[in-house]
Amino acid sequence: MDLRLSPDMEAFRDQVRGFLGQHKDRYASGAGAERPREAAMEWQALLIDNGYAARTIPKAYGGYGAEPDILKSRIIAEEFTAAGAPRGFANQGISMLVPTLLEVGSEEQKIRWISPTLRGETVWCQGYSEPGAGSDLANLQTKGVEDGEDFLISGQKIWTSTAAQADMIFCLVRTEPQAPKHDGISYILFPMTTPGIEVRPLKTMTGSAEFNEVFFTDVRVPQSAVVGGRGRGWFVANATLKHERGMLGDPNATEARFAALIDLMKSETVDGQRLIDNPVMADRLMQLQARVMTMKFNGLRTLTASITGEAAGLAGMVVKLQGCELNHQIAALAIDALGELGVLYEDGPHLRAKGGWQRNYMFDLGLIIGGGTAQIQKNIISERGLGMPREPKLAVA
């Protein structure tokens, strides 16, 4: 255990700080469901040029081309958070498609898609889940029927965030109906403007449509748009699902939210008493602080493991389950501490944080379910982490 940084790393930190101080007036966020605006794309370009976004993506594909260095990535993350500077884009194209292409894409696919995706010119959505294929994703039924050089794709996807704005979709399609279920899927890229695609917003309990349903009717796509080979889609997608689970339950985001909760409980009052002076509320706050701290140190431990090339094991497997639950509980305490104020949701003189605590509370429940439900996570932890047997399959009825 030695949490000090080497002088090289401290120098790198100063360099990041210097950059952020110098370019304060150019901060522009590309977060949210909208297509990135021009200012955000310019900020992104500046970040890539300086190695603060797309850092380890090869230069040939439009990245910065640095060697992977987890510590530097962490310093960048910390300094951007401390300065309140918008990070590089973290949409599904960048977080999931780009790593997939780098791993299994053809040279042509890499050259064609990675650079515009990094720069925010090409926006992607992910076509994985279906109404009948959630936790059992490999059961997906959207089919691609061979027709000359093309596939004709028909079926339905669900939970497709950003489908309305996306230029392109990376989509799992059953192209080999005779093959066993895991071997019959292909990972295919195609434009959302292709005839036969209909996008319907899916409104959730938050009141917004963070997701969509996407319907395909005889959508004609060339077979050359398959990534990683026909029938290999399950393995291609699994390589990137890891990246999605890593995004969910990020301890830095949790720490920021917890800091906002402390501010809230120190500044808001009831009967003239600060919320934090209620011993029951203070006790709940301290219980959560212990958990926030625990997940932070767990994150440092898994970070060290990835630097030294050791397997993180259970410490990595539990992050999504524990982290998403913790975020949900932080929002829950904020709501309880605010009491009646905590249920306000529309604009008005009494509304706090633009209703964000309620929105987080509801949206986080979705994150506990999405990206592998809590129950699926527990299967993974018990089977892969503790070596317990799988549930035996029932004979098919």
Binding site: D283, A290, M295, I381, S382, L386
Partner: protein
Amino acid sequence: MDFSLTDDQRMMQESLSRTLAEASSLDRVRKFAADPADRGADVWAALTDFGLPGIVIGEEYGGLGLTLLDAALMAEALGRAVTPVPYLGAVLAPLALRLAGSVEQQARWLPKLASGQVTAAVAISEAVAGARDGAGLMASDGKLSGKALFVADGHAADLLIVADTGGVLHLVDGTANGLGREIMTGIDLTRRMAELTFDKVAAEPLTGDAGALARLRDAGWVLLAADTLGACDVMIEKAVAYAKERKQFGRVIGSFQAVKHLCAEMAAELEPCRSLVWYAGYAFDAAPQESSLVAAHAKAHLSEVSRFIARTATEVHGGMGITDLLGLHFWFKRVGLNRQLLGGPERVRALAAQMQGLTG
């Protein structure tokens, strides 16, 4: 930046666990638990050979001169083996002497403590967890009067470090006149607590550092959290092993999601705690300004997690879980005592809120 244990630390912990597998087998623990006159001299002797009594004592006094993190890793191994030894005092008394003792006091006691020739206990329960049943020690003219409760391993210790009602630490010789001791038998029979009564007992104040009591408390919290971590590890291992063997309805019960999800929940709660305990141990020496808060959270959080694990691991064992024969109850009770010693989680969290200025 390196958030991991060194090879030396891992090897030392494994080595202690190997020693304990023989010296502190479940059979040996059972004998200790059944006989209040058993002082566990053979177990202590094995640990003395290992060097454990001198773990935080400087090499100039014959100790190993290691850090609290190292001491916590040893506590984890002792918790794993539910070992019946006076370890809390073995770490806290030397710390008290180092922080607040005179050179003469250190020279008089540290070599004997390091060699395991004398054992120590620390009576700070009233000062940290609050006074119950009218306990508390008044200091007057170099003499202590009153009583101290819940002194872990205090019935047999040769050296006592006690806190008076003003928070000043004193050194008391176990053979001093006017000192009475009674065992307070609780659930955990692997570490006996004592009630100490003082009738004008001669005591030497440890005046070197006014913050010594808080440092002792922090170190105690870390050691108890680490002991709990080790005990929880074993409870999960036992539950998982049992669930992989026990068959009902024609299959091992570990293949039922109802059972394996309980095991997953235990592991998901405990695994991140390992990092919390490591950091709490590390911060005590390397980041003292953070030490109290992280120690408090380690103590309180491990207490909560261990309650869930003790209960759940018992349930996974079904009816066997509650039998004496299985012996899981030794771990169940070990963490039950760790939870309350030096303050239950609610009290510790109230202190955690105060020490960062969130509450008055």
